[in-house]
């Protein structure tokens, strides 16, 4: 298996090099045959890498401990179901996974490239294949997962216990895919610019692939939060850990990009800004990979023992410098003849949204870099923790919610007083009503009132717009409401898909507000038969059972949950010790409802049967996890292909520009 994997990996390296040079040569020399051959190299790469990956997975399944990577990340006692997780548990395997994902997405992007990008597709292919070749070469030369040991050990070291969680099947793949997928919109933008196409040729391709990367990162971040919530045992879901932040920052930049690009599509504005945004997003994605693979800050999320940090640092520098150099070279040709007509317009709202998103990204970057900078220049490492992020990012996030609520309701170009009143009256009343109701019920925290009021504003705005659109169609065409809803949604998928995504964001905001501002927490030492209280709940600890497994010993506790003396449920939180790794892992037991979560996790098991429990009540966190599928649904609606027409843009004082685009937005 290892031999076949090695052959396939080196074959992939060869294909990558050939494809990159061929695409470049084909474009420069104007040779369609060479260009086609290079593209075929891109198409066949995923197949070759699948062979390599199957070889590695096969080595895991066969417990082939002669393969050093298999010996380091699995053992005879490892449940077989975690074979797939073990495959990307280390630097080598995860790099191979990244190579496969990038090659598959790049092949799809090249095959489905819109007509406007065809003339410069050679440049795009060359960029994508160069990035792929980098990852392939690093994998083959510096992190080869097929390296063998001179003598196979009788057993492996085992998988990291923290990875034995269902979230691990999706969280790392989604995040890794999201990070590398940021290369695709960048490649389309850079390909067009290098090829001298300085208008909007790259717009549709970059928007679609930016959305793909954004959605993958969003799902990865949500799943990562869920994993941290259930397995790390501290009762929270976001720690502002440097590596967590490293995945959040490109997501923020991509969020700005996928909004701002709609303004370019619709009004022909922000072209340069969008190029800067996609460059920043790609740079931050590279920074995320650098932090994750041997970066200078240790984290529960990173491959701590990696020596690849400097390679990724060099790639980061090149990956930021080259796109910006191309941008500056084309700068004079990129100017737009249009400007903002009014600050009370949708495009102005999008601009404010962009600035806030980048503000949050910058604050997060500063907080992530500060410990390094303080160590480098001050000689003493000063860590930046949650209060810093809460104080600075909190108001920005509230501002973002406000813009998210108001922006889509504003007209393009300029809002008249009548249009403003028509758009904002009902959502505004809903927001004020919510604040008044909550204040009347005894809520006095400013942040919470503002947050819930803004959630109401966004939701009411979406409901109002959707209802008006459907009712109008129903009146005009006499269709049933359901049919009118379906037809109206189909007629402008990016708009209504965006609404669904905004609803998902509101759900996340509810979870964050509830879990951050209203959480209650207690650490209690209980002996069997003893009861502790938290909120309205009484937690009765019955006892702990010791269950030995091959690789661990589990201590499963039984607690009965009551409310007002009535039994609600029985929970079984557990704590396990892994002797081969000298490591303990916990699994929280959670009673989750839309109103609140009751979270019980054992943090210490004593010899006499007493257990230290952490008890947490987290209001509304359920909404956060439920937001994931809603977000995916909204993204799919946005991405679902729609008939494309030559867009006609609104009047411009100087020139009217057209491009081959749809009219959505």
């Amino acid at each position: 298996m290892a031999e076949l994997g090695t052959i396939a990996l080196w074959l992939a390296v060869g294909l990558g090099v050939y494809g990159a040079i061929g695409a470049l040569g084909g474009q420069v020399r104007g040779s369609p045959l060479l260009s086609e051959s290079a593209r075929r190299a891109a198409y066949v790469l995923p197949l070759v890498l699948t062979v390599a990956i199957l070889s590695l997975v096969g080595a895991f399944v066969g417990r082939d401990f002669q393969v050093a990577y298999v010996a380091r990340h699995s053992s005879l006692d490892m449940p077989r179901i975690y074979t797939w997780v073990a495959f990307y548990a280390g630097n080598e395997g995860s790099l191979l996974f990244i190579c496969l994902v990038l090659s598959a997405l790049a092949a799809l992007a090249l095959a489905l490239a819109p007509g406007e990008t065809r003339r410069t597709l050679g440049w795009t292919a060359a960029i994508l294949l160069t990035v792929q070749t980098f990852f392939l070469a690093v994998t083959a030369v510096m992190a080869n997962p097929f390296e063998t040991l001179p003598l196979a050990p009788p057993d492996g070291e085992g998988i990291n216990p923290l990875l034995t969680h269902v979230g691990m099947f999706f969280h790392p793949p989604a995040l890794m895919s999201g990070l590398v997928a940021a290369a695709i919109p960048l490649a389309f933008v850079m390909g067009s610019l290098i090829g001298g196409k300085t208008k909007d040729e790259w717009l549709d391709a970059a928007r679609q692939w930016g959305l793909v990367s954004w959605a993958l990162l969003a799902v990865g971040l949500l799943l990562g939060s869920w994993w941290a919530y259930t397995i790390l045992g501290w009762g929270g879901f976001w720690f502002w850990d440097p590596v967590e932040n490293a995945a959040l920052m490109p997501w923020l930049a991509l969020t700005a990009f996928i909004h701002s690009v709609m303004v370019q599509k619709r009004r022909g504005m922000f072209r340069m800004w969008n190029i800067v945004l996609i460059n920043v997003a790609f740079g931050l994605a590279l920074y995320g990979m650098f932090m994750n693979r041997g970066g200078p800050v240790p984290s529960v999320h990173s491959f701590g023992a990696s020596t690849l940090g400097w390679v990724f640092l060099v790639f980061l520098v090149v990956g930021v410098a080259v796109p910006f150099a191309v941008f500056f070279c084309r700068f004079p040709a990129l100017t737009s003849s249009r400007s903002l007509d009014s600050m009370l317009s949708r495009e102005a709202a999008f601009l404010v949204n962009n600035l806030m998103l980048l503000g949050i990204a910058f604050v997060t970057l500063w907080g992530t870099l500060y410990p390094l900078l303080s160590r480098l220049f001050g000689g003493q490492e000063i860590t930046v923790a949650r209060p810093f992020y809460d104080q600075v990012n909190g108001p920005l996030l509230l501002g973002l919610l406000f813009v998210m609520g108001v922006g889509p309701l504003l007209p393009w170009r300029k809002a008249t007083p009548q249009a403003l009143r028509r758009a904002l009256l009902l959502p505004g009343l809903a927001a004020l009503g919510t604040v008044a109701l909550l204040a009347g019920l005894g809520m006095h925290q400013g942040y919470a009132l503002a947050g819930f009021g803004l959630c109401a504003l966004v939701s009411a705005g979406i409901a109002q717009e959707w209802w008006r659109d459907v009712a109008e169609r129903q009146r005009a065409l006499g269709e049933g409401y359901l049919r009118a809803f379906w037809r109206r949604t189909r007629s402008n998928r990016p708009r209504y898909g965006g609404y669904v995504v905004h609803l998902a964001v509101v759900m996340v905001a509810l979870g964050v507000l509830g879990g951050s501002l209203f959480d209650r927490q207690r650490d209690v030492l209980l002996v069997p038969g003893q009861t502790a209280e938290i909120g309205e709940y009484q937690i009765r600890y019955l006892g702990t059972v010791e269950q030995p497994f091959g690789d661990r010993t589990e201590y499963v506790s039984t607690v009965v949950v009551q409310r007002d003396g009535q039994p609600l449920t029985t929970l079984y939180p557990w704590r396990a010790f892994y002797p081969s790794q000298s490591m303990a892992a916990t699994r929280a037991a959670i009673r989750s409802t839309p109103v609140e979560d009751l979270y019980v996790v054992p943090s210490e098991n004593r010899a006499d049967g007493a257990v230290v429990f952490r008890l947490v009540v987290n209001p509304m966190v359920w909404w956060m996890w439920t937001a994931g599928p809603v977000l995916v649904l909204g993204t799919l609606v946005c991405l679902w292909p729609q008939r494309r027409v030559v867009a006609v843009r609104a009047a411009s004082p100087l020139t009217a520009q057209t491009g081959r685009q749809s009219t959505s937005g």
Partner: protein, 118 residues
Amino acid sequence: MAGLVGAALALFVALVVLYPFVRSRFWREESATPKPPQDGQLELDGIFSAIEELERQHRSGELLEADFQEQRSGYRQQAALLLREQEERQQKADQALEQEVRRARGVAEPPSADGAVS
């Protein structure tokens, strides 16, 4: 065994990647195959959807009157152009069919304007 599978994989990859050169060497005519013309109906549907969306935005106050008029006029021009192209295609197809039918019946072609028979 692994070497054999690897060699087969390498051979397959080489064939796929080098196929364009082989094709151009031996089957030059393949690339000259003309693509069937599209009837433009899909684009037309797209334009009608765009006009419908524009009217919705206008009614809901999202678009200024002047922008609405200008954009709708632009889409209408595109639609008219496509419809004219469709009509021309249809006329050509009808003429060709008529000629076929005439030939089949052995009827002489009507003289053209300059008196020649095509």
